[in-house]
Amino acid sequence: MRSVRKGCVCLCLLLATASMAACGERTQNGTFSYEELMAKFEGGIEQNATIRVLDNQMAIETGHLQEILDAFNERYSEYNVNAVDANMDQYVDLEQNGPDGYGPDVLYQANDMLMRYAEGGHILPLPTEQLDISAISEATMDAYLLETYGLDLYYGMPVAQQSTVLTYRKDLLPADWETRWDDDRNGVPDMVENLNDLYAYSLEVKEASGGEKYGLYMSLLDQYFNSEYLLSYGAYVFGETSEDIGLNAEGVETGLNLFRDMAGVLGSHCISQDATTQAATYLTDANGTAFCTIGTPDWLMTFRENLAKTYMRAGDDAETAARKAEENLVVVAPPDLPKDGNVKKELTNAAEETFEPVTMGGVNAFAISSYTKYPKASLAFVKFVSEYENLKWRSEALGAVPAREDLAEELGGVSEMLGERVAGGKVYMMPSTRDTQYIWPPLSSMFNDVATDNTTRDNPKYTTKESLRAVLDKLVEDIRSAMALGKS
């Protein structure tokens, strides 16, 4: 038995020696030229390719995705290409699934998410010379710019712009709004023009209905929409680098205090993520539970659909209901904010006392997964959906604001308004870096804390400028901690 033991020891030593001897240096893969990086897109489309396309939920629900897939498959039928719905969660994590061989070939997401993938090498840089980007502004394209191997490369084909708009029900306006709520006599209700009047109107509606109805209804936890109150008063997310976090810049406490005041009138029911989905119901129900909400322009299609159903339940035929829903749901720019941050005061000269807000914005784009087996077919799909006519089709079907300036101009309305806001620097683009992921949880937590302070807290803590400043400083500290620990 001694020899058996010796044998075992020898075997272990042999394996250990072999293992240790094989421990080599880690190798990097050098750099690549633009031509080398784009070589995979050269040549004809792969025959018999099946590409999985991940689009947003609205495109799937409205049937637009299937329509565009069918159109693409028909156009490229000679290659027998089959583009299909990836049938995955719209926020699927390519970083997690891609290396394991899952995930879509083509994906549609916002710039912060896509550029996180770009930094990790999970999506492909696109040959922009093959794409029609002439009508897309430089600022929009830059959301997808990343320096890789010393080259400026674009990782997404911008399709839609996202930012904040206010949607209200025209038929819920008070009968006397032209005399009571249109001081400047411009034919637009004051409560959708400035936040002071919206605050006053919300308070009036709440008191008159015993808390059953709302003027403005939205989630107080939504970091994306509520960051408007910080950005408008001087905040910024990152400066030159992500080391420079500007969410606690000088004067931002004024905006936070304004948010706190708004929370007081919106109430504790809005301190919930569910409030975002509830807004679609409250804005469109027969009772007129909410007069307006703040969200993204593409929500309009859902609102119209819901409101048309409400009218149909009340006895209207489908055509009349759809027409009335279209007429009564109005989308406007987010209301102006008071310069001094006092949302409770009555304005004497709105034009002088308010200013246009800065809202958070993003650019949604189509990108191609690095793990696709069919890069050429995937690129063909991206080219197809970004064609002028197909973008127009998408914008009309989904209510999305196109990234193409010429199309936005042609469509007019919300698209044009948002385009002007972007051009005027009133939309703060979500930083296209993976560090953006670290700002959301602390930001949401802070909004929760401050909103709670003016709704359900027995002893409010944030009643002074100093206390609000402290909470902003803590926010930045928390973001730094999360960033440091995430990278450790």
């Binding site: 880690r26 990086l37 990790g120 090498g121 936890l221 993976r434």
Partner: protein, 439 residues
């Protein structure tokens, strides 16, 4: 005699041959079928080592040397897969070692049979012996193998991840590194983690003790009540705990969340009656003890019926003579409960109680469903809320924030704590120390 003893101690040549190469000894014992099969196993294993095994084991040490470049389609090493394959190979090596050992023992047995002049078993006889003579071995080895594959290997994988920097920004295609005990150091030294772990651990311990006691005595109380002679329509009353038990836990918890939410009927009624202030909320950012108490209530609602059923069964076996003797001695109902019922039930249910404690310590669902909003109390915690248990925090860190290595390190600390507590409590319990009391 001395010479004979030396001869006896000397290994037979068949054993030496089997030590050198599996199955060789068997071949020389004229057991060709078994010998060839064992040789095939060794050849297969050696080929596996040559083509993949050694590389897999090396992979555990290096966790990859070549980083992939997905945008160029350049394949590289996937550290996580290498770790998984490495562990699998180590398990295969251990399995091969066991087979090798069995092969040597078999050769020694056969050589001894030959020395005694007995007939050597044929291949079919060996198979029959395995099937009929060692049936217990055959039937138990399959579950053990499955336990290794589906339980032990994932646990080893998770444990090893705790010693790497996997997670956060270090995910494939980036290569993962071994970092030793750095993650454990982070947990206990970085203020964000240390403060959070101390706060959550204290609450978690309190939760586990109180929830277990509440469920246990609630269930026992209910069982005694249903056992009482004075109670009429016992079968009818027993329906209600069955209903509470039969409904899936997460549905019950979702119901509780709706009932006790700010716009829910309970809060509305309590406000209307003036029992709570307008500001009071059960489920809100500031809710701490109100939500914790709600958690205890919800947990009891879900768990008390199961304890009640268990206790009902145990109480039906109680020797009534003891109670009669006690009442003759002048014992009242309370004394009977404390000195007769409780020791008897405790003795029978201590392992269940322990299991319930562990289950409550790791009770993920209660606060996950009661407080679904994904906002964290970043003022006081790191990616956690004041009602989160350690298991919820680990979930936040791993699934939500993808800090896998930290989550693994925390899981290991949790596992060690629970293992020690469970062992100590069980060793000191009457179920273990006074095993024969009620036999």
């Amino acid at each position: 005699m001395k010479k004979s003893g030396q001869e006896k101690n000397r290994l037979p040549y068949q054993v030496k041959l089997s030590c050198a190469f599996m199955g060789l000894g068997q071949l020389f014992c004229r057991q060709f079928g078994k010998g060839l099969l064992l040789m095939a196993v060794e050849i297969g294993f050696v080929l596996f080592l040559i083509f993949a095994g050694v590389e897999n084991i090396v992979g555990i040490f290096t966790l990859g040397t070549k980083e992939a470049v997905p945008i160029m389609g350049i394949e590289g090493d996937n550290s996580v897969k290498m770790l998984a394959w490495g562990i699998t190979t180590v398990f295969l090596c251990i399995l091969f070692g066991l087979v090798y050992y069995a092969n040597i023992r078999d050769a020694a047995y056969t050589a001894e049979e030959i020395r005694k002049g007995n007939r050597v078993r044929t291949f079919s006889e060996s198979c029959r012996t395995l099937i009929y003579g060692k049936f217990y071995f055959l039937t138990l080895s399959v579950p053990i193998l499955f336990v290794c594959v589906f339980n032990i290997m994932p646990i080893v994988f998770t444990a090893l991840v705790a010693f790497t920097n996997y997670g956060g920004e270090i995910v494939p295609p980036k290569l993962v590194d071994w970092v030793g005990l750095a993650n454990f150091g982070l947990i206990f030294t970085v203020s964000e983690y240390a403060v959070t772990i101390v706060k959550i651990f204290g609450w978690n311990l309190l939760w586990a003790v109180v929830a277990t006691a509440l469920n246990y005595f609630g269930g026992l109380g209910l069982a005694l009540l249903y056992n009482a002679k004075c109670l009429r329509w016992k079968r009818f009353w027993r329906i209600f705990p069955v209903l509470a038990y039969a409904i899936p836990g997460f549905i019950t918890l979702t119901g509780f969340r709706f009932l006790f939410s700010d716009g829910g009927p309970v809060v509305g009624m309590l406000r209307e009656w003036g029992w709570i202030s307008e500001q009071f909320t059960f489920i809100g950012f500031d809710s701490k003890w109100s939500l914790r108490l709600l958690g205890f209530f919800a947990c009891a609602w879900i768990s008390v019926p199961s304890v009640m059923f268990l206790a009902t069964g145990i109480l039906s076996n109680v020797n009534r003579d003891m109670y009669e003797a006690a009442s003759l001695d002048g014992a009242n109902a309370w004394q009977c409960f404390v000195h007769l019922t409780l020791p008897f039930v405790l003795f029978a249910t201590m392992p269940v109680l322990l299991n319930s404690f562990i289950g409550n310590f790791n009770n993920f669902s209660i606060f996950y469903f009661l407080r679904p909003e994904v906002t964290y109390d970043t003022v006081n915690y790191f990616y956690a809320n004041n009602t989160d248990l350690l298991i919820n925090w680990i979930f936040n860190l791993t699934v939500d924030k993808k800090l896998y290595s930290l989550g693994s390190a925390l899981s290991m600390v949790l596992f060690l704590f629970m293992a020690i507590v469970s062992l100590v409590v069980y060793m000191r319990s009457p179920s273990y120390r006074k095993e024969d009391t009620y036999k």
